[in-house]
Symmetry: C2
Subunit: 399 residues, 2 copies
């Protein structure tokens, strides 16, 4: 039959076959397969501390007998709370209606950004580029791949900052979007304000967008790190798109609440398209989010918890003469694999620690540039972190 | 400068300019612009009755001090509750792990389905088709447009069923997906089991997927309407994708909780891709959903409420000799505009009612085929419905 000779139209999006396995799903499976073993988990960067009671109470108080469909533009109170927080945090004037929309968590905001910006692939001679740092959160690349963009891998310089020299004119002209993420996952590095200015200068020259995932912005130890909006204040946030979340700041991973802020043209577009996408956040979650963005005391308390855990590991590594790079902010330490491990192989070192009951992420998992590092997420309670530090110290003492 | 002569790479997805305004956002704006006026609103199909207390209590009980990131595959308890409900409701054997994933509401599930199935547009000589009935929920078409598919408009026959004769070989070979929606929005029509069988037969012949939005499946008055899974039982649900939600069944629009069920290949693909998309539902909402899918008494009570309101309007229209078509299920009546209105123009009739304080949706808003009809959503409490019926009767008595 003639029909059967045409390419099978029931095939799914062919980009799916290019996706790497989703790492955290894999990690959970491996642990679940060993139910008798107790692991100390410094692998997944999931906050484990409590969501403050006043936030949970705000959620419960907002559950009404009858309710209506939430809007994608969000409650005006939530947009005002976010704009107010951004204004206080970065000293820039953020308008609740022109510069902000809520998101159903930052992963949703990240995954859904590229398809709203990318051109129709059938209209292009060459694919548009999305620039992603060589070690990065998996979702930037998965979204680019699924939406038929080409990934341009940005190398890091020796300070773990993307090397902007890689954006040559040939690259810049095809670039639609660049992803930044400081404080960085996995390195914990922080970018200076001048770096954001340099990126925006390039964006203006070539006409691409700059998306900055600032999920870890509040987990700092010395001084609050700068953000993209500060660098974009004099251009009315043009080409600047910031994504942030309550997951880390307020221990609210379970709630799925974040925001997108910046370029008023992009925000207007999001207000047009997002009501069609099913990304509206339940109003009771939005009410909890209003409470969370309006309070800083709980964030200070959380920073103090992380600072104690961080100091514990930094101390252990210093005593064992193990190098820690980046690691200025976020709840990660980016630790060089010791020389005693053959080829400083991060997978081998992580496997060795796994066998001793300690889970860390091998840097090689993020890409070749991470091969000689492991990522430690100091999210467990201080007692568990002490246990982990003891395992690390014992392993580092092994001949 | 040479750079400026290239097509502006900062342009957004050009499909955005093809989107029609999102109707419900517009309708809200028009009401908000007249703050002094009290409207009886039979326009938007948003349930107004209470979410049963036991469901709200299940949510509150599931809010824990600490919590972790929810998974896109959902709690096993939720998948089991959904599979159990489907098995009881349709008499088909649904496996909780092979045939079901939860969704963050049905709009999310609908919007996000097409891009996971469509081919890379740059690989095709002609665009893939997505078939959408000529009067339909806006999101099917918006998702197709945003993802660069071509919409094939399926005409209705005189029973308000899509006319499958329109799927000629030339259409079928390019077809990726067909959207069905029974009980139907806006007509309230119900499809017989034989119709689903006919569609699946075509799907097998040409190799396209059948997506059935069954959001209104539980709002029936005579007998429970059949669903796509019943017609697909003998083929292991191959090519069949059912989407349903708690929004209408359990008055849970505010909670954003639904599911996708059917073809095990599609479900396996969704379990691979959806963890990257940020569509995981908060666990406290999933716990409320487990309670909701496990109880039928509250659904029966809700059906009784709608039945009373429906009878009230049917009675009024019968007395005034106004024709009601379709309208077998869902909370809609599909009412022919009376002859007294020039050209039976639905916009003119809706405007006339608006001026008298009653909001209905003009059928012409859904497309030319709806031009001589209005859609009445009998969602308000019975007292408000009585008020609405009185306005309607007065208008129909006008000379």
């Amino acid at each position: 039959m003639a029909l059967l000779s045409t390419p099978c139209p029931s095939a799914m999006n062919p980009a799916i076959s290019q996706l790497k396995p989703y790492a955290f799903t894999q990690l959970r499976s491996r642990q679940d397969a060993m139910p008798g073993v107790r692991f100390v988990d410094l692998g997944v960067g999931d906050p484990q501390d409590e969501t403050p009671a006043f936030i949970r109470e705000a959620l419960v108080a907002a559950i009404t007998p009858a309710s209506r469909y939430p809007t994608a533009a969000g409650l005006p109170e939530l947009r005002r709370a976010i704009a107010g927080w951004l204004t206080r945090r970065y000293g820039v004037a953020v308008d609740a209606d022109k510069h902000v929309v809520p998101a159903n968590g930052s992963k949703e905001a990240i995954y859904n950004l590229a398809p709203l910006l990318l051109d129709d692939p059938s209209r292009r001679r060459t694919r548009e580029l999305i620039a992603i740092p060589e070690l990065a959160y998996q979702v930037y690349g998965d979204s680019a791949t699924m939406h038929h963009a080409e990934i341009f891998t940005l190398p890091f310089d020796r300070h773990w900052l993307p090397d902007l020299n890689a954006i040559t004119p040939a690259v810049g002209e095809r670039l639609k979007l660049i992803w930044l993420n400081f404080p960085n996952n996995p390195t914990g590095a922080v970018a200076p304000l001048s770096f954001y200015r340099d990126v925006l200068e390039l964006a203006g020259r070539y006409g691409f967008y700059v998306a900055s995932d600032e999920a870890y912005s509040e987990l700092w130890y010395d001084a609050p790190p700068p953000g993209l909006l500060q660098a974009a204040r004099d251009t009315g946030f043009r080409r600047a798109i910031v994504i942030n979340t309550l997951s880390k700041r307020s221990n609210m991973t379970a709630y799925r609440s974040g925001f997108i802020a910046g370029d008023p043209e992009v925000i207007a577009m999001l207000k047009n398209v997002r009501p069609r996408m099913g990304v509206a956040t339940p109003e009771f979650v939005q009410r909890a989010a209003v409470a969370a963005w309006s309070d800083e005391a709980h964030v200070e308390a959380q920073r103090a918890r992380y600072a104690e855990r961080r100091a514990l590991f930094l101390d252990a590594f210093t005593r064992k003469d193990v190098a820690v790079e980046g690691s200025e902010a976020a709840f990660y330490l980016w630790v060089r694999v010791p020389e005693s491990v053959a080829g400083r192989n991060s997978f081998q070192f992580a496997e060795h620690l796994f066998e001793r009951g300690l889970i860390v992420l091998p840097g090689g998992f993020f890409g070749p540039r991470g091969q000689e590092y492991i990522r430690i997420a100091f999210v467990p309670k201080i007692d568990v972190c002490r246990e982990a530090a003891a395992i690390l110290e014992r392993v580092l003492e092994e001949p």
